[in-house]
Symmetry: C2
Subunit: 324 residues, 2 copies
């Protein structure tokens, strides 16, 4: 599988990591490229895109061309949609390049497992990124919860799909994941800050003219018996809600705005956390640089596994058709 | 979580393994108990069942009672349906007993992962069994395929649900998995004999009055690019089909009857394999005895992961209502 003519995996180095970005869409322009080009950890050398690159850098239309012609590209960041990302990752791994995967790391769990095994065999670093885990209040919340016993968790993730994904029919097609497209961010936070938990039941509400859920109610049980309830709603207009409320034996912590800030009631030590800057992608790229330098992969599929469990065990209810 | 008063994990020993069987239904009576009671590797001490035990052995209605009152039960075999098996496994693990899980190992991937972590922490052996992998032709097929390049695979799993699951409504309820209840046996064979593969598309046909598919067509790609197509059908009357056809660069191998026998065309060395005896559960219990003696767990979730991928990525088509 690995091309014997490809360069060897990147060696540990203290200089900037030469990087290429694949898929120059909204998320790459808004988040990845500004972070990469302003970080001393990275040096951008090229992009691959079918719809225009990034001013001042070579743009290829095929990842194979970029990998062949840009030996300074030692790492590749894949910002394309999950469908089709597997083949791009295989090309990069087989060419001995380290790989950063946007979330979710793939369209299926089995393809991510195959990439993990392949990267290990090739000696390259693979990073399955979950940007919400780098929201500023998530790590402090994790530390606060770790010293307490969780009694109950309520997750509310309510937003307006027409605002966030206007006319993006792919989110309602098979593999688009529907309301779990934002919901997997909630799952990535929950799997980071809570003890292990697993699904006990789910109701998935699917529009009659679509394939994926527009709303979902899920019930999980935490290791130790506490209940976790989760409501996902893609029809909320007005104020948008991305909250995780964790009731413990000593106080209640609520993450707001997808982990941007935390509020603590009845705390016995830790005061309310201030709202931090929007550092999610800075945190991800700092983590990736650390992984590349230490030659360690980080492929935690637990958010995607929770999603797959919901699709496997969930009861489907057909609801009103959805049109933009 | 672990009860400090519980006995320590079973130590390696050359004598018979004291065992308790939980869930005395059709599969336990047909397969597990005859194998256990005739094997020199095991000694049955007790059962747990709400609907009658096994003649000549103590029967408890609660697993906690059995674990507390039967110190000779060093290992527990769980033959109950997947829903509810998690709590039974936790009770056994926390009581320091080794655990044999019927297939599928759980209702969700996350609960199986939680059990794996828990068993490791407690120092007990956990075995996720897949009986079809012990069908007599499966291991020879695996060895034959390993020396060849796979070009294409076709899996046909067609049976009559009215014959095999008469009036068992649970198979069509959420978590019952529908036609994947037998289909996971095909997946357990395919993940054992083939190189890694992952789903690219699936169509799930769900009766209008049910929750789980009654037919499914799946397409996978093998590591290396070969196509795997799989047809699951629960409406086949007359002859029943459980076949896996593997086309390679040097010959075609077909597993028939769920791995009971293999046929080879154009072989260059290995003759057709004879039909063997029905040794699936003998093989599973021999494997479990080996794991218990060597203190090693074996929790391969890949068949359940492939199933979860199909439920996540599959396109659902509503078909005619199904009634018994």
């Amino acid at each position: 599988m690995a091309d014997p003519a490809a360069p060897p995996p990147a060696a540990a180095s203290s200089g900037p990591i030469g990087i290429g970005v694949v898929g120059i869409g909204k998320i790459a322009k808004d988040q990845h490229l500004p972070v990469i080009t302003s970080s001393p950890d990275y040096r951008l050398f090229a992009t691959t895109s079918k719809s225009g690159g990034y001013p001042g850098f070579p743009c290829y239309t095929d990842i194979g061309d970029m990998l062949a012609k840009e030996p300074d590209v030692r790492a590749v960041s894949l910002c394309t949609p999950p469908q089709g990302r597997y083949e791009l990752a295989v090309a990069a791994i087989d060419a001995g390049r380290d790989v950063f995967l946007e979330k979710p790391p793939g369209a299926t769990l089995s393809e991510v497992e195959a990439l993990r095994v392949r990267a290990e065999a090739r000696g390259v670093v693979l990073f399955a990124s979950w940007h919400s885990r780098c929201a500023p209040a998530v790590q402090p919340a994790r530390a606060w919860i770790a010293e307490r016993t969780v009694r109950r968790v309520q997750i509310d993730w309510r937003e307006d799909v027409r605002h966030w994904h206007p006319n993006q029919d792919w989110v309602f097609q098979p593999g688009g994941m529907g309301v779990f497209d934002p919901g997997i961010n909630a799952l990535s936070i929950a799997t980071r800050i809570l003890p292990p938990f697993h699904l006990t039941s789910a109701e998935l509400r699917v529009p009659a003219n679509r394939q994926t859920p527009i709303q979902a109610d899920l019930a999980f049980v935490l290791d130790g018996g506490a209940e976790v309830v989760m409501a996902l709603d893609w029809l909320q207009t007005g104020p948008q809600t991305w909250d995780v409320r964790v009731e413990t034996d000593r106080g209640v912590l609520t993450l707001h705005e997808g982990g941007q800030r935390a509020e603590v009631q009845g705390s016995d030590g830790l005061g309310p956390l201030k709202r931090g800057p929007h550092v999610e992608y800075e945190g991800l790229y700092a983590r990736f640089a650390e992984l590349v330098r230490r030659r360690i992969s980080d492929v935690d599929v637990s958010p995607l596994r929770q999603l797959a469990d919901a699709f496997t065990l969930g009861r489907r209810t057909i609801v009103d058709p959805f049109d933009w």
